[in-house]
């Protein structure tokens, strides 16, 4: 059905001793990390921590003072900067949609720069509108100011993905959305990322967003990278006090539960009541148990086969600080 969408183009990004100084001020201080192919890395930290600068050095909107960035082993400095940017999707907080161009013209920007033929561009635009649940009859000819915030955001991401980049850079891509739409937009991004396998580097200052989206989270403060680890590791083994504080000590167990699946805490035995799906998070299961006032509930998998039961005690064990 969608051969070109299930493209499995992925990239490994290696950042080596990347540093940026403006005069005497160090904005990014000797950062090294590797983003695995097909994963989402989220960069969090207070404002002014250097997250955006780091991101903008990947596509060379800002030139590094020292250090280098390798994409699939190739040094980005060896690629002409416009060519490099054609290959990297870029989404910013205000989206920066071109107000004088229609939705489809906006999405077609990079394919046009790359000289794709008209038929191929039209097909690609159609495909992306479909992927982002924007009816092409209704939206293709609209101008950005005629769209809602959520629709603008989707067009912004669609435009960034138009030329099938293996890497997508996102700088506060959900910052302008209200909370309800934001959550839906995050879910949509996750679904699309899982389908396309695009490697994503995302900057945010929203901790919930980081835990929701990140395969790995990089915590930055005052130009330095404090910790780059999986969400669970960040919760259970914070590298510094600042990380612990940023993660939020009160939120910690709940965040941990949100990372675990019911499948991991299934116990043998039976229980009565409305069954819980094995793919639900432990946090969702706990919330359901509390709300219904039960000690345990049965667990079923996607096709309804009973797998056992889940109990409050079993869940709580997963939210405890590891020994």
């Amino acid at each position: 059905m969608r051969p070109s969408i299930s493209q499995r183009v992925r990239s490994v990004i290696e950042i080596q001793s990347l540093t940026k100084r403006f005069g005497d001020t160090v904005v990014v201080d000797d950062i090294s990390l590797t983003v695995d192919e097909g994963t989402i890395s989220v960069f969090v930290g207070t404002s002014g921590a250097g997250k955006s600068t780091l991101l903008r050095m990947i596509n060379r909107l800002i030139e590094p003072t020292s250090g280098r960035v390798l994409i699939d082993g190739q040094d980005t400095m060896a690629i002409p900067e416009d060519d490099l940017r054609h290959r990297i999707g870029y989404v910013i907080q205000g989206y920066g949609l071109f107000p004088h161009r229609t939705v489809s013209e906006n999405i077609a920007t990079v394919p046009r720069l790359l000289g794709w033929d008209k038929k191929r561009i039209a097909a690609r635009v159609e495909e992306l509108l479909d992927l982002f649940q924007l009816d092409s009859g209704e939206f293709a000819r609209k101008y950005p100011h005629e769209l809602s915030g959520g629709q603008q955001q989707r067009v912004g991401v669609a435009r960034a993905l138009a030329a099938k980049p293996a890497l997508l850079l996102m700088d506060e891509p959900f910052g302008a959305l209200d909370p309800v739409i934001r959550h839906k937009a995050q879910d949509d991004l996750l679904a699309i990322q899982r389908r396309l396998g695009t490697t994503i580097m995302l900057v945010t200052h929203d901790m919930d967003e980081a835990f929701h989206l990140g395969d790995k989270i990089a915590v930055m403060d005052q130009a330095r990278l404090l910790q780059y680890a999986t969400p669970a590791e960040l919760l259970t083994r914070p590298a510094e006090e600042f990380v612990e504080k940023l993660v939020g000590t009160a939120e910690r167990p709940f965040r941990l539960l949100a990372l675990g699946k019911v499948r991991e805490a299934v116990e043998p035995g039976a229980a009565t009541g409305k069954p819980v799906s094995a793919s639900a998070t432990l946090r969702e299961a706990l919330s359901q148990l509390l709300w219904m006032g039960r000690e345990k509930l049965p667990v079923v998998d996607a096709d309804g086969t009973p797998l056992g039961r889940i109990s409050i005690g079993g869940i709580l064990a997963h939210g405890r600080q590891p020994a």
Binding site: N59, L61, E81, D82, D83, L84, R85, H86, Y90, I92, Q93, G94, Y95, G96, L97, F98, P99, H100, T102, T109, V110, L113, Y143, H145, G156, R159, A160, L169
Partner: protein, 401 residues
């Protein structure tokens, strides 16, 4: 505009119990019409083109039936303007009123001039102009309230221009003093018209050619911006006569030293200094609007364009200039309307244009000759404003709110 808005005043007046709520602009228009009909003269009769004239009221200026027709039409418009609010009806009434008085005034010369007299001059007088003003106000207000789109405005303008052209070509106005003045100078009129348009449009084209790149440089290099805008600001404050004087010396030297310049018609006086002065005055609006236009392009749009790999040139042509265009066009509009008026002064130093008639007319105390220069100038400016306003609306296109 708020003062005449029916939304704010109407409900209050109505709740106060007034049976008829008067429209304020309509009332002003009605008063103007009243004064024009009953106090002011409709045409002026002069024995020849330079003596003082005698006033003629409507009833004395036209054949009886036509005079009554004009009075009826004008009073009708006054009634409509006071009592009816629908802009379309007011527009039609005012347009009909204009048509009636424009045709009627053309009949006055035949009625007033003694048979065989070729020296007598009949010209529209204060009352006629006042009626024109009153009707035109109503037309303009109605068009504003109708919120016509750019094409509809151009269409309305084309209809009005065609009607006026028909009156001129048909000979209906040939008896009027102004047209008699034109008849004796038809050749020089069109020559000066061409010169006038050449001065205004040519200097604008030159200013656009220099000003647009200069504006882009100012936008890209902030340090240059302040200096350039400061210089252009100073030029703008020099009075036109003084600027002509300042230009005479260098241009005379240029003409004397460089034979090519002289053979191109560049001299210390004449069209060259006028052209250069108009060009210099045009630079500030063009450069300033180019800079403002480019600077108001949202930073996020430019960031996104860079991030997607548009080169500097692609960004300029595909993003920055298209988004700045409506504001640049506003600058062009300012310059064109300003130049069409200012070009009149060129005649002072032998630069030609409609100013030639204005200054000759002042010299001879022949008001008709002054008007022969002034009226086309005003008409040209008005036309330029209407056309460019429509173009600006079209350029704003989808970005308009």
């Amino acid at each position: 505009m708020n003062a005449i808005s029916p939304h704010t005043s109407a409900p209050r007046t109505a709740s106060a119990g007034a049976a008829v709520s008067l429209d304020r602009l309509g009332s002003v228009v009605a008063v103007l019409i009243g004064v024009a009909l009953f106090v002011a003269p409709f045409v002026t009769y002069r024995a020849n083109r330079i003596v003082a004239g005698e006033a003629r009221m409507v009833l004395d200026a036209l054949p009886m039936t036509l005079a009554i027709g004009v009075m009826a039409a004008a009073l009708g418009v006054a009634l409509v303007s006071v009592t009816i609010r629908q802009p379309i009806i007011r527009l039609v009434a005012a347009a009909l009123g204009l048509a009636v008085i424009f045709v009627a005034v053309g009949r006055a010369p035949a009625f007033l001039t003694p048979p065989g007299n070729t020296f007598a001059r009949i010209s529209p007088a204060f009352g006629f102009w006042l009626l024109t003003l009153a009707f035109a106000l109503l037309v303009a207000d109605s068009i504003t309230r109708l919120r016509l789109g750019p094409f509809a405005r151009l269409g309305a303008f084309a209809v009005a221009a065609a009607a006026l052209a028909l009156l001129l070509v048909s000979g209906a106005w040939d008896g009027l003093s102004l047209l008699k003045e034109y008849a004796t100078r038809a050749d020089s009129f069109w020559r000066e018209a061409r010169q006038h348009v050449f001065l205004a449009l040519g200097s604008l084209a030159a200013a656009a050619l220099v000003g647009l790149p200069l504006g882009m440089v100012c936008y890209r290099v902030p340090r240059v911006k302040a200096a350039i805008l400061q210089i252009l600001n100073i030029i703008q404050t020099i009075p036109s006569i003084a600027l002509f004087g300042l230009l005479m010396v260098p241009l005379s030297i240029l003409s004397a030293k460089v034979p090519l310049a002289a053979s191109l018609g560049i001299h210390g006086i004449g069209a060259a200094p006028a052209f250069v002065a108009l060009f210099l005055y045009s630079l500030l609006p063009v450069v300033a609007n180019t800079v403002v236009g480019l600077e108001q392009v949202p930073a996020s749009v430019i960031d996104a364009a860079r991030g997607m790999g548009l080169s500097t040139r692609q960004r300029l042509w595909q993003v920055e200039l298209p988004l700045a265009f409506p504001i640049i066009l506003t600058g062009i509009r300012i310059v064109l309307v300003q130049n069409l008026g200012l070009a009149t002064v060129a005649a002072l130093i032998g630069g030609g244009g409609f100013g030639t008639f204005v200054f000759q007319g002042i010299g001879q105390t022949a008001i008709d000759l002054v008007l022969l220069g002034a009226i086309p100038t005003v008409a040209l400016s008005f036309m330029a404003a209407v056309i460019l306003d429509a173009a600006i609306d079209l350029a704003k296109g989808p970005v308009r709110d």
